[in-house]
């Protein structure tokens, strides 16, 4: 029994690391630019396709293709902010929701057109290997993904605390008007935030590729739990999203193990509802006034 629980927790923790990359991206955009990016999952999908094609055509290891997928998606993020998001800022919620939602639909259908609905998989030397620790096994591909996800999240945290640009982002997240009065250039800060957020989605895509198949709708699989984690960890709070993602991964895994393989999400949403009932603004939110 203890072994089964341990196994479920390890599985959940590892996949939670991937949810974290997605949810940190969502929460960063929300915190700084104040817009909910419904297309975040589709950028994970793009990252996966970049890694897939690099592996299929050039033979590059999907994890190594981080060095391509992250800069490419960073650039996409900057362009997205400059040419699309900027135009709907300050127009109220509806145009913003429609923009990112439409972007999500557009990207899924574009991928269907370009790559068809086929499931594509990359085979690496470690895709099927696992480390056995007593009765618990740890998939190597998932362990690598988790390790790098934590490293990237840590790097982002350091960036936000130690650099001027990072501080400017946090300032903009805390109070946009005051930050602007203090000389923060919102254009620049917003572009960087969206760029970084999409780069994280790209990283998630590359890290998933050694153990998951890519297809046009794949983003939806990862984005659902990421959104739950964003809300649970208090919207806009990067550290909160990270911790909540790991929790959600474990909750899902325990749910599948003990409630049923078709009801893992029951536990996830039960945790979410309970938390929100007690702390309406999430785990790390200030108490409501």
């Amino acid at each position: 029994m203890a072994a089964v629980v341990a196994q479920a927790l390890v599985n959940g923790l590892l996949i939670g690391g991937i949810y974290a990359l997605v949810s940190i991206g969502v929460t960063l955009i929300f915190g700084v630019v104040k817009i909910v990016n419904f297309a975040q999952g589709e950028f994970v999908m793009i990252g996966m396709y970049i890694s897939y094609w690099l592996a299929a055509r050039v033979g590059l290891d999907p994890v190594a293709s981080l060095v391509v997928s992250m800069p490419v998606l960073f650039a996409v993020g900057v362009l997205l902010q400059r040419f699309l998001i900027r135009r709907v800022l300050g127009l109220g919620d509806m145009p913003q929701i429609f923009l990112t939602f439409a972007l999500s639909l557009l990207l899924i259908n574009l991928a269907l057109l370009l790559f068809t609905a086929d499931y594509r998989t990359v085979d690496t030397s470690y895709s099927e290997s696992a480390i056995h620790i007593g009765p618990v096994y740890v998939g190597v591909a998932r362990l690598i993904a988790f390790g790098l996800a934590m490293l990237l999240s840590g790097a982002l945290e350091v960036f936000l605390r130690a650099t001027d640009l990072g501080k400017a982002m946090r300032a903009a997240a805390q109070n946009r008007d005051v930050a602007m009065l203090m000389g923060v250039n919102p254009e620049h800060v917003f572009s960087m935030a969206v760029g970084l957020s999409l780069a994280l989605a790209g990283a998630a895509g590359s890290l998933i590729m050694p153990f998951y198949s890519v297809y046009p709708g794949v983003g939806q699989v990862f984005v659902l739990l990421a959104f739950v984690a964003v809300v649970l960890g208090t919207m806009g709070n990067v550290r909160g999203a990270l911790i909540a993602s790991l929790m959600m991964g474990m909750a899902e895994s325990l749910g599948i193990q003990f409630v049923g393989a078709d009801s893992g999400l029951i536990v996830v949403f039960a945790v979410l509802l309970l938390t929100l009932a007690i702390r309406p603004s999430g785990l790390f939110g200030r108490q409501t006034r």
């Binding site: 996949i15 991937i18 609905a117 153990f211 699989v221 739990l225 599948i256 049923g260 078709d262």
Partner: protein, 413 residues
């Protein structure tokens, strides 16, 4: 701004102009071919016999529908190269293709359109059972015979008189899977995992109902939600159940995830994925060694007879991959239509239907499916049809069950 608009507008005009010309050209070519065909037929005396082919060449089933078109073209070519329909003075088959776009509404209108615009002697269609059921309804109403490889048992129900199914029915598949399990172990202990929608639930319940009769023990029966991110917990449960064979009713990406997780956990038992998309050559191309050793059931396979192998060789030469289940069956169906036309000595759909109902073949391309014989009962079902068990072995889909169709023994991984 004004300058750029001025520049772009003639370009847009040219593009539109180009498109219009292209479309006109396409229409003209179509008209010409149709016209050319009639004149040639007048010169050669016998009129060509029109056969409609309704397949999803675009949309969700595009990958499969396109191969079906290719196979239908090859089959018609084969019939024509062998001298066409002799009792009609060597009349050639004329294939009329229609893309039903993986959509039930389009299937309905396209079937109507084909039947009302051409004098069809018979129809072929339409890969997915959901589409074929619609095509069958329309064909019944217009009294045009439809041959199909679709496996839904509903195609043999409701007093259909013009629908013929020469291959194994869905209800026969579960039994074949259970019998294959007995090749792996004398006392099969089967774990069944299935995705929790209509497809998975109905397929898996067939397995559960027939297990006692086949002497198989169901040790685990577990639904899951499709599109999970981690197969670990599910595979954990399979391992704990002590099963020695796993049946998975899954979509392709879940199947790959389950295979990989089983390898990581050192769970070394055969996996039977039933029938479905993974019987297509592209599946192996996309998933590589994860497909190796995977078991399934099919209504047709390219290696069960010398004739099937000959068709496959011709197809492979043209398209660079083996001919998959449904497309291969389509070649056999075209030869059944040719056989019926030969005996009916008329392109009249009613007479072709009656000749199909009296069909009794045991050799040649018409009989190259599993069972090796075709004869339809009252419901349009081939009384000799049975499924063939297949396994991915070194990049090829090899028939492994039953004995008379097997080309290699099952590899027990």
């Amino acid at each position: 701004m004004a300058g750029s608009r001025g520049k772009s507008s003639p370009r847009r005009y040219t593009r539109r102009g180009f498109l219009t010309t292209a479309i006109r050209g396409a229409i003209a070519t179509g008209a010409l071919t149709a016209y050319g065909a009639t004149t040639r037929n007048v010169a050669a005396a016998p009129t060509a016999v029109n056969i409609g082919a309704l397949f999803p060449a675009t949309g969700g089933f595009a990958q499969f529908g396109q191969d079906c078109f290719n196979a239908a073209k090859l089959a018609v070519q084969m019939v024509n190269d062998r001298g066409g329909i002799k009792s009609l003075g060597g009349a050639k088959l004329n294939l009329i293709l229609s893309d039903v776009q993986s959509d039930t509404t389009v299937t309905r209108t396209e079937t109507e359109r084909l039947i009302t615009s051409y004098k069809l002697s018979a129809l072929l269609g339409s890969y997915a059972s959901a589409l074929t059921l619609i095509a069958s309804e329309v064909a019944e109403r217009h009294k045009v015979p439809l041959l199909t490889g679709s496996s839904s048992d509903q195609l043999n129900q409701g007093g259909r008189k013009y629908t013929f199914t020469p291959f194994a029915r869905a209800s026969q598949f579960a039994k074949a899977q259970l019998q294959m399990a007995k090749l792996i172990s004398d006392k099969p202990k089967v774990a069944v995992v299935f995705e929790n929608t209509a497809f998975g639930t109905s397929t898996s319940s067939g397995v559960r109902e027939q297990a006692p009769g086949e002497g198989a023990d169901i040790v685990m029966f577990e639904p899951y939600s499709a599109g999970f991110t981690d197969a670990g917990p599910l595979v954990n449960k399979v391992k704990a159940s002590g099963a020695n064979v796993l049946f998975a009713v899954s979509y392709l990406n879940d199947l790959v995830l389950i295979v990989r997780t089983m390898k990581q956990m050192g769970l070394n038992i055969p996996l039977n994925g039933g029938s479905g998309g993974f019987l297509h050559p592209d599946f192996y191309k996309d998933t590589g060694k994860d497909a190796e050793g995977l078991l399934g059931v099919a209504h047709w396979n390219h290696d069960t007879s010398a004739d099937a192998k000959a068709v496959n060789a011709a197809y492979e030469k043209l398209y660079g991959k083996f001919i998959f289940e449904y497309a291969g069956g389509l070649v056999a169906q075209t030869f059944m239509i040719a056989d019926a036309l030969e005996r009916a000595a008329s392109p009249d759909p009613q007479k072709v239907r009656d000749a199909l109902a009296a069909l009794d073949v045991s050799k040649g391309f018409a009989a190259m499916g599993p069972g090796g014989k075709v004869k339809f009962d009252q419901t349009g079902k081939n009384i000799y049809g049975h499924p063939v068990g297949v396994q991915w072995q070194k990049g090829d889909l090899v028939s492994v069950f039953p004995k008379e169709d097997a080309r290699a023994p099952i590899v027990k991984s």
